[in-house]
């Protein structure tokens, strides 16, 4: 309650409410994410359940175009309701985005903190590892590992563990972003006198690192976290689009776009368009929120 009262009086809330773009983006993100996570309740049908799908309903146009159709946003080639698959797909995409960012952050913050605080040889080695990691693009790592995985365990097994697999791949590929940002902040913070004071007090290094320096480096971490969530969702969509992400039976937004892509020229544009719109909306609003946060947390940047 004290925290809530504090928030109500804070400059953060004041600045947020005065920015209509930020408020609008926040509302859209919250709506999309809650709709995604409430998919089993909200969706008209369960696209994972073959018993509920009728192949005879395939490629039906949205209800407001085709009078015979009872599906609000139409159906895909297997007769699944597009609205339902979008809801379930959003959930998968957001889950992978958040999971991958959590993994990136855990790895990157830990490595960046140690690298910046220890300095010297440890720093040099860790940062070169980060450079090597960054020189492989996310897609290359994912394609490489995904191909090996699918070849060894077979496509059937892959479907079951696709979500954690994608989280691991995207998380591992992007941790240097965090490591570099945190390291840079740590280098600036560790020269400040409160760190010296903590050493004079006799606190052990680990405690100084995690409890004193880390909280002071959180500003840039919050900003890149929002951007990275959007990036991770986009990476997942791109991987799914080229067939190395989520399988069609458990579609994410990316695999939905891909599955509809083949039918665009046969006139069934709705299979691709609606998931695409949701994906764009999700990423755009997350990025706009990130922009607002960067402006708010960095008073040196003035908006014209």
């Amino acid at each position: 309650m004290a925290l809530l009262a504090r928030l109500r009086e804070s400059y953060l809330l004041h600045s947020f409410l005065r920015d209509p773009v930020a408020v609008g983006s926040f509302i859209v993100v919250v709506l999309l994410v809650t709709a995604g996570f409430l998919a089993p309740v909200l969706a008209p049908m369960n696209p994972y359940d073959p018993a509920q799908i009728d192949v005879m309903d395939s490629e039906l146009a949205p209800a407001w175009i085709d009078q015979d159709s009872s599906f609000l946003l139409g159906t895909d080639s297997q007769g699944r309701d597009i609205l339902s698959t979008i809801l379930y797909g959003t959930r998968v995409s957001v889950l992978i985005g958040l999971g991958a960012v959590a993994l990136q952050a855990a790895l990157g913050i830990g490595i960046g903190l140690i690298s910046g605080y220890a300095g010297g040889r440890v720093d040099a080695v860790l940062m070169r590892v980060a450079d090597v990691q960054l020189s492989f693009s996310t897609y290359m790592v994912a394609i490489f590992l995904g191909a090996i995985f699918q070849a060894t365990f077979g496509v059937g097994r892959y479907e079951q563990i696709a979500v954690p697999f994608l989280i691991a791949v995207i998380g591992l590929a992007e941790w240097p972003q965090y490591a570099r940002t945190v390291r840079a902040s740590v280098l600036a913070e560790k020269k400040k006198e409160y760190v010296e004071a903590a050493r004079v007090i006799g606190l052990p290094s680990g405690r100084i690192m995690w409890r004193h320096i880390l909280p002071n480096t959180m500003t840039p971490v919050m900003v890149i976290s929002t951007v990275q969530v959007a990036n991770a969702i986009m990476s997942e969509a791109a991987l799914s689009f080229i067939g190395l992400g989520m399988p069609v039976t458990k579609p994410s937004l990316g695999s939905l776009i891909k599955s509809g892509f083949e039918y665009i020229f046969s006139g069934a544009w709705w299979i691709t368009l609606f998931p695409g719109v949701v994906l764009v909306l999700l990423i755009l609003t997350i990025n706009l929120l990130g922009d607002w946060m960067r402006d708010f947390l960095n008073p040196k940047l003035y908006k014209s």
Partner: protein
């Protein structure tokens, strides 16, 4: 060169710094920041380390805690504190001394408090790093110390962040943190430089009062002779990494022997010197570590320079009056 500082008949010693030499390994070579510094401090005794910027005062302070950051290192010498040689103690044993038996206060209280933790958190953390006590007990001690430094309504203040305090209040908090573990020695590194003059006097009075009531030793690092003369019993004047004059405060202020100390004291405004009288200054600047002059480091600026001064480094010797002076010409 061995220096035998002071007579051994004095009070039992709290701190004994002997022939301390700190060097910095830089690309241009290994440079001495502190050379052969020796002094003693009895329990409850207050010493002022005085000198210009770059004289090695702060480095000496950090060297006592064995907290010299790379590329600096303690080349030789001993720091005996309560019978233990801090220069030879392993890191985990050192941490037991730092912040527990010896506390340090820095120049800028805004910088020394962590901006994202409440004052209470920082105080409790300090205590728990050294004592095996509960949060409740730690909080009680923190409150007691905040009252000692005259912070009004300390219960409320404990939950606040450093930015909610004024500069003088922050320095009081820093002092309260330094007091938490009832240290035997406080090293105050220019504790009032970042504060305005009226607050300076308040903070110095507070420090003096606390040292007296708690019987704490104090090493006051400053360039302000006026402050030192009010607070300390002994003064050590440093120049280019060496102590060039050391003795009782009264003695040094009223009868400085080293030409440098004389210059410093003449540079202070005196009451009764009449309107329009110019203050004297010492010509030149302190040499940088890169090119400390041969012989007596002060010789290029010295008004009493003689031939031997540029050849031989003078030893810190007693000259009868009770003070120790490192000068060939006294």
């Amino acid at each position: 060169m061995k220096i035998q500082p002071q007579d051994a008949t004095a009070t039992p010693r709290l701190l004994e710094v002997a022939d301390l030499t700190v060097k910095f390994a830089l690309r241009k070579g290994t440079l001495p920041a502190v050379s052969g510094v020796s002094f003693n401090l009895g329990p409850g005794e207050r010493l002022g380390l005085v000198g210009e910027s770059g004289a090695g005062k702060s480095v000496t302070g950090f060297a006592i805690l064995n907290l010299i950051a790379k590329p600096g290192f303690i080349e030789s010498g001993q720091v005996l504190f309560e019978g233990r040689n801090l220069t030879a103690l392993p890191e985990d044993k050192l941490r037991e001394v730092r912040g527990d038996r010896i506390s340090m206060i820095f120049q800028d209280p805004m910088m020394t408090l962590n901006p994202v933790l409440t004052v209470g958190t920082q105080m409790i953390e300090t205590l728990k790093a050294h004592r095996d006590i509960s949060d409740k007990q730690a909080e009680a001690i923190a409150l007691e110390k905040l009252r000692k430094v005259y912070i009004p309504s300390p219960e409320k203040r404990l939950a606040q962040y450093p930015h909610e305090f004024s500069g003088g209040m922050r320095q009081r908090i820093v002092i309260a943190i330094a007091l938490l573990t009832n240290p035997a020695l406080i090293i105050a590194d220019e504790p009032t430089t970042a504060l305005d003059v009226t607050i300076q006097a308040e903070i110095m009075d507070l420090l003096l009062e606390l040292c007296r009531t708690e019987n704490m030793g104090l090493i006051l690092i400053t360039h302000d002779l006026a402050v030192v003369s009010q607070v300390t019993q002994k003064i050590a004047v440093m120049y280019a990494g060496r102590i060039i004059e050391m003795g009782l405060t009264q003695e040094i202020i009223s009868n400085p022997l080293h030409p440098y100390t004389q210059g410093l004291i003449r540079a202070l405004p005196q009451s009764g010197s009449g309107r329009g009288a110019r203050l004297e200054q010492i010509p030149g600047i302190m040499p940088s570590l890169y090119n400390i002059p041969k012989g007596c480091a002060f010789n290029p600026r010295c008004p009493k320079k003689c031939a031997i001064c540029s050849d031989e480094t003078p030893a810190l010797l007693s000259r009868g009056s009770g003070s120790l002076v490192a000068c060939h010409c006294v």
